[in-house]
Symmetry: D2
């Protein structure tokens, strides 16, 4: 019965959805999932019930992912010069066409919401350069989306160095380019290389007003701390990046936003956190408990956990761990969990295999794979 | 910090919702929950966050419950003659007015969907007597609902002894009395005391067509097996009732329905199972696995689990156990779990205290307490 | 990264344990697990960490299983005459040599504790025939164990029709044949085909004293109800067996034992329940709650759940479902959960793949796979 | 039935264990738990089964806690001058006698393993002063333990500024003062106020050899980052402490230890992490995944998760959240989870109420409350 674990072949043409069998499951069908059925061999095999019964789960398509990155050649080659990256990686991250579509097919992804890779615009201290680069990146992305509008959508890269310019660029991206939100890579360096600016600061309140007015989510993606913020990682630079420091940086930033009263002022803001929540779901009870017991006086009206639950969404990017997912579901609820891969850093098939088989209900699986994203992005 | 566990006082006037503080949580407010706030003492205390932050969870109201029973005096006194019931129990189960409303206030219940107690009409072998009794019970319930229409709704009692009469009575109850569904107590004795008739039988297909057409749920409530079906319980009569036999009877009945192809024929049927699913969620994978591996040929199109997930709803009645609830959420998803107490057999405050504090997300807690019922019953 | 799901090749010589690489994990090594390492490709790949890091999980061996059945040809051919069994099944269940050893190798099983298939001796109403058949079955098993003493152990089949004879046969099997316990297939037919005798009855108390004195576990394995106990299954005979009725029968029997005060009288009795507990872990809270609230008077000193937790062990046989396993762990604790396959009814590789990858801690995985069995059976 | 949540009265004399009723549960009794039984009212009430049946869970005693702090007056008054601490707090943390014993009785604590509060010796840059202060603190603790040896044990405070002196002081504390391990508050300032020294550095390897040789656990307790390490917290100093920064600091330190190969060199080292693991259990899979996929070359032999599972223990101090505890149990197993309160920062009754009722098995509850500590500290 190990079949379900072993088949991961991609149907040739997952998007056109020709020649699919009639779906047995109304739920699945109404959720927009396509399946290449295999009724003879698997029709009542409960092991094929990655989603629901009557078809081969391993050919399920229709997933939506939202932490999927591309790079601009000019920036990528500058940032990663001399780094030990796998040979094919550069091709994968620069490509916005055939390589990516083939991987999406392989990984059951119908739609990816694409974003500039980290640190992106945030690592450009010169404000006018940041503004200009953001515009170039967004235009580049928009042109490529236009070629495959059923497979790609876009998150705006934003020059947060200038809050007003960031608001303008976001407005342009949403209104003119059809982007569905923004993805920002943590703090910005503003004016100087050793500058660290977080978005809870007062100068960003008008920017957040714009985000709320546009009714689009803001993905707070990680970045590494600056060298001057690396003290705790000294001698362990590896730890400062994706293996741990990413979550440290992003969790602190998100908690700053929560603790600043931002979500009381703009209660309809929607923040997306990757990697199953950057550790916050596991620790937020203690955070609130210490604030309460320590008589810490914040400007907020509610426990921080309520902002996590009501203003945040969590993706699975790069954290394909059932135990952690269960923790998130039991803290925040499956309605706020969204599938993501973190391509090309992660493997689309590994991510898919995990989501298709992890020990959650199929109802939640479908929401996470697709339904929640459809609602959040009005797809 | 044990306060939250200890306060369970009922606010004086939970339903009129006067003088509530402004709710901190938009989610809660939009879900229709009323709270008697206690902002000064608990505003940022995470321990009061039974639902969300800014108020005292123990005064939360607005729950909807749907396995709450009443009895007709004539039937109750006949059925329970000589039984060792607590003194106040008869008053509680017969009452459809002040006693019940006071208990609902005490237990944070805004609305109860009421039903005749088990075995109800199902234990009346004489068909015309069953038809007549069902009508009397439903009229009695309707009259009492009319006195408190904001607090009570009704499930029809049905004379399943005659499928056509049952369909007619359900239609009358829904169309004329405003009932929101049916609650039937397991198999019916038809024509003879030792008769056992389950509803997967062919003669019930037109009845199910009516249920689907009316778009109302059918609550499959337990009953004890007949004496002639008690072999395994011999010498342990206690085991045949609510402690275990109820789940045995009801799970078999529900699996008969699933295995008969009923839900393929009427895919929009909605069956409600109490007591966290009568054990089915824990075992359904094995059921499907044995059907598949044992090459058992059924008339069904899909694994039985898919009918459980797509045609069934599960209530918490009488099973206030977090571990079992978690199992149900991870098998079926929180969208299909609904709060119920099983009053007057269970205590409204115990049930409420459990739901308000069990280790699930507040989003799911709100759904289970109220939101899912609002959707299912179009409230 | 899907590799770990896909490799299930059996090493040629899992038992001799030659040429294993040095195990990275002291825990694993001390638990007796053998692994054919694959350090080059997987040494730090967290996905290969079915147990722990440094080797290919899919070649892990050393599991112990205890609901693994054989049949006597004479009984099998009589019982299953005319049934639609898979062609190879008869060979598999009769074999106690090469077929079985090859399957054990394929499924990572170092040791199987073997038992006569259901209903075995319990379905032989004639007491002297039952006594004689049990003796023949046990001797047959002992002879085959002797050929492969490192791979096989035995559970005694018992003529429960005669409690004294059953006690004597168990004593003989343990003392003379080296068996490690008993496996009994539910109620016995005693004297007449339509007889149903459960072991909570007074005449079995001396038998239980013997079981306790011998300090060996008693596996309460399912059997189908008799035709006269099939009322609820009428028209759905498939439901009365392994798909559901097995759990119904066995759970009732186990609860009878608990409710009879047996475990107060013999507090060191150890009962093993298969299939993740036959549904009892999911429902036991409600059972105790109804006993308490319903003022049911039993001869027991404690809630039934305490006997489940302190006198029972649970195996995974035929129920490879992570959600249900998690429920059991959170109700009873991982120290009382033991791996089993239910061979040849279930597939050894499917069972192994599930246990090796399901979302529990590796510490618990090792206990369940092997450690708990070592303790329980003093291996 | 809310009784069980509401009773938390402390029996007068929990330690002498006079006049306890005979415990119904052999498990509990053998685990050393004392209970003031209340057989008449609760004997079969499953809701009182915080541990097991037959007694009032709220009077359960016998817990062992190990992140319980005291302060030296000289240090406390220096460190906390001008801070807004609750009035009674100073008395509580300085006291090692009646106040503490009364709280322990109130919170069901039989034994506390005491430690100097954070940052303790680690915040003393002058090495000889650190050595001297550690000695004074340890002697002070030892004198107070001697007055109540059945209620108190000690963790050594260590002058990690000088690894050799730290090893000597630990040896003295274990061999001469009878201490059961060490508790160190994160990095040390060595020689200068703005110095940050972590213990993965080469100069600490001989110290770790001593820890391993003494076979005592090392509790890695949090401390705040220095001002120069506070960049990410700028404007949100509250966030740098117990609400979040504690976990950031301690998780990085623990991962440095793991990533340095320390546990390959000293495989029998036992590190204790508080607060349900400082976030590591939630994120460790991603850490290993990024190391593997990012081709990060470490000096380690295994995935970091294996060190977490085999060299670390996790306490519940200050994180009384069932969802997070469940995550830890499913990642690491209940055998490595130990109860702690974090007194006097947390409330003993809140902690106890949570542990006594959270949705885990009673077997695990007993291990966490007492059994695992008995094994780890050879009590």
């Amino acid at each position: 019965m190990a079949k379900v674990y072993m088949k991961q072949s991609a149907p040739e043409n997952p998007i056109t959805r020709r020649n699919f069998i009639e779906l047995a499951s109304a739920t699945l069908a109404s959720a927009g999932f396509a399946a290449k059925g295999n009724a003879e061999t698997s029709s009542r095999d409960p092991h094929s019930a990655a989603f629901v019964g009557d078809f081969d789960a391993s050919s399920l398509h229709g997933k939506i992912a939202l932490e999927e990155h591309f790079a601009l050649a000019e920036v990528f080659d500058h940032n990663h010069a001399g780094k030990n990256l796998p040979p094919a990686f550069r091709s994968q991250i620069l490509d916005l066409d055939e390589i990516r579509l083939a991987e999406m097919d392989r990984g059951g992804l119908e739609l990816c919401i694409l974003s500039l890779d980290s640190p992106g615009i945030q690592g450009v201290p010169d404000t006018s350069e940041a503004i200009s680069l953001a515009r170039r990146a967004n235009d580049h992305l928009a042109q490529n989306i236009a070629k495959n509008p059923k497979r790609f959508r876009g998150f705006a890269a934003l020059p947060m160095q200038d809050p007003q310019a960031a608001a303008q660029e976001l407005t342009r991206c949403v209104r003119e380019l059809g982007f569905v939100g923004a993805l920002v890579n943590g703090f910005s360096q503003v004016g100087a290389a050793d500058s660290v600016v977080y978005y809870d600061l007062p100068q960003y309140r008008p920017f957040w007003a714009t985000v709320q007015d546009l009714d689009v989510p803001f993905y707070l993606h990680p970045r590494r701390p600056l060298e001057t913020g690396m003290r705790a990682y000294e001698g362990h630079a590896w730890l400062a990046g994706a293996p741990w420091g990413f979550a440290v940086e992003t969790s602190i930033h998100a908690l700053r936003l929560m603790g600043s009263g931002l979500f009381d002022e703009y209660p309809r803001l929607k923040i997306i956190l990757g990697h199953l929540g950057e550790g916050i779901p596991h620790g937020i009870w203690r955070t609130d408990n210490r604030i309460y017991r320590g008589s810490i006086s914040l400007k907020t009206q509610r426990p921080l956990a309520s902002y996590l639950r009501e203003n945040c969404y969590i993706t699975t990017s790069g954290n394909f761990r059932t135990q952690a997912l269960t923790n998130v579901i039991l803290e925040i609820g499956a309605d706020r969990v969204l599938y993501s891969v973190d391509y090309p850093f992660e493997d689309v098939v590994e991510a898919q295999t995990w989501l298709d088989h992890c020990a959650i209900s199929d109802a939640d699986r479908i929401k996470i794979a697709r339904g929640n994203a459809q609602k959040l992005f009005h797809l």
